[in-house]
């Protein structure tokens, strides 16, 4: 990050992201309020009502409708925005696949929250990690500034002619949506230059009738899926490129697909994503001061999963610990499983251990990170289970 602080303001994360959305000039905002996303759409509604933002704001009856409306908006050539979380994202699930299959570049902020039952409104990332297979790009943010910047970047990536895929910008609920911290809000004019108006190739037009998401029988269905798969693969280069273009204009860069922190000579590497990365950085600082060769790999882009970049960045590590706020009920958790899979056909045979941590809003502390590093050291000698629930309270089981 540059040291420029000229336009820094202390604002709530949700306001900062709403301001970023305003700078992206969506034609239609369609959303249903749900904690902890509510402040984002409340702010947008206010901006529209005050005439600050020339968008149509639609209040709908559910998240299913919220995203379905945007299918129509985007197919008709408009730029669409929504935001949701948790049960709301789950309710959108069917439409998520349709948006991706129809190649509609909708951008959505996901205010990550646990998903019920049991009912829980606090932060974890079960909601969006659970939606990893729907064909949306997924970018995870460490702080509010990243969420602001990634929102603008996401439209540019999604709307690229070669990509045309929807994107989720994931920010931890409450931790980022409700925090007040200094943020450099986007400059409207610079944002307009960075992100020109949406230029669709095909639109719904009564004069030239077309069908989006048409029927595909077994002779062509595989090929449509392949096209989506290829678009995700191609988007990796675009995500890197857009991150650099953003840096040129706005002076901030957080890595494209991933970023390293004390990674070059690290023996013990923690891999994680989202806001907990900030805590891990503090823990790494403390352990480095004690001479421990600990490093961090922050994954920014979870879909597409940057297999080659991860292999390159992690090949020197002697042990890897993955910390994530989700669990695949039945087999470890999303990130650790994907990471292991991406190494299997390489010559990397580094031990990898995984931790489901911070579920349903439980804090992850520096002490926890130190504890995980101690477990990683034990794993190097094969004395640690491959996967565990961090700080499991066995006394209440």
């Amino acid at each position: 990050m540059s040291g420029k602080t000229a336009n820094m303001k202390v604002v709530e994360g949700s306001y900062a992201v709403a301001h970023a959305v305003m700078c992206c000039r969506p034609d239609v905002i369609s959303a249903y309020p749900i904690t902890p996303q509510t402040h984002i759409v409340e702010n947008l509604s206010q901006m529209v009502a005050d005439g600050e933002l020339n968008s149509k704001f639609l209040t709908v009856d559910s998240e299913f409708s919220a995203l379905s409306v945007l299918v129509g908006v985007c197919a008709a050539g408009g730029r669409g925005y929504s935001s949701t979380t948790s049960q709301g994202l789950a309710l959108m699930n069917e439409v998520l696949y349709n948006v991706s299959g129809m190649r509609l570049p909708i951008v959505m902020n996901v205010a990550n929250r646990a998903i019920g039952a049991p009912l829980n409104i606090w932060n974890d990332q079960q909601d969006s990690i659970g939606a990893r297979d729907v064909g949306w790009l997924q970018i995870y943010c460490e702080d509010v500034q990243e969420a602001v910047d990634a929102t603008l970047q996401a439209y540019k990536i999604a709307e690229d002619k070669e990509i045309r895929m929807p994107a989720m910008v994931c920010m931890d609920g409450f931790v980022l949506t409700h925090v007040y911290e200094p943020v450099e809000l986007l400059d409207k004019e610079k944002a307009r230059d960075f992100l020109p108006d949406f230029q669709p190739d095909n639109i719904l037009d009564p004069a030239h009738p077309k069908t989006f998401g048409a029927f595909a029988d077994p002779s062509a269905f595989t090929e449509f899926r392949y096209q989506q798969f290829e678009a995700q693969q191609k988007s990796m280069a675009k995500i890197e490129k857009v991150a650099r273009e953003f840096e040129e204009v706005f002076g901030r860069y957080y890595g494209g697909l991933l970023d390293g922190y004390y990674l070059d000579d690290a023996e013990i590497v923690i891999v994680s994503l989202g806001s907990v990365v900030g805590t891990i950085k503090d823990a790494v600082d403390a352990m480095r001061a004690e001479g421990k060769k600990v490093g961090l790999l922050k994954l920014r882009c979870y879909r597409p999963f940057p297999v080659q970049a991860l292999r390159k960045a992690l090949k020197e590590a002697s042990v890897i610990a993955v910390i994530e706020k989700d669990v695949t009920i039945g087999c470890e958790a999303g990130l650790v499983t994907d990471l292991k899979a991406s190494f299997y056909n390489s010559n990397i045979r580094t031990p990898i251990i995984g931790f489901a941590a911070g579920l349903g809003g439980r804090d992850i502390t520096i002490k926890d990170i130190r504890n995980i590093v101690a477990k990683a050291e034990a794993a190097r000698k094969g004395q640690q289970p491959e996967f565990e629930f961090l700080n499991l309270r066995t006394e209440i089981l």
């Binding site: 299959g101 045309r164 095909n202 009738p209 077309k210 998401g213 029988d217 449509f224 096209q227």
Partner: protein, 85 residues
């Protein structure tokens, strides 16, 4: 024909896409029994039975073999036959 991203197709695509491909049974019409009541044409959910030169015939490019015509025919003039391809 190359496919377009987003499963995008121009209007009237079923003129090109023959949707009768998944049929298992095919209707056979006994034109001697037929009394030209049109019920098969009226009930066909695909709208693919029409009179050709005075005889009712299914358009097999679109017929799914659903048997509705055979079921509705008051003269039992339509028989569903296993189609081997």
């Amino acid at each position: 024909m190359a496919i377009k991203a987003g499963s995008l197709v121009d209007a009237c695509s079923t003129r090109i896409t023959k949707t009768g491909a998944w049929r298992t049974f095919v209707p056979q019409f006994d034109h001697d029994k037929c009394i030209k009541c049109s019920l098969c044409e009226i009930y066909c959910p695909e709208g693919c039975i029409h009179q050709v030169d005075g005889l009712f015939v299914p358009d097999l490019d679109y017929c799914k073999g659903c048997s509705v015509c055979a079921n509705e025919c008051p003269r039992m003039a339509i028989t569903m036959v296993l189609e081997e391809k």
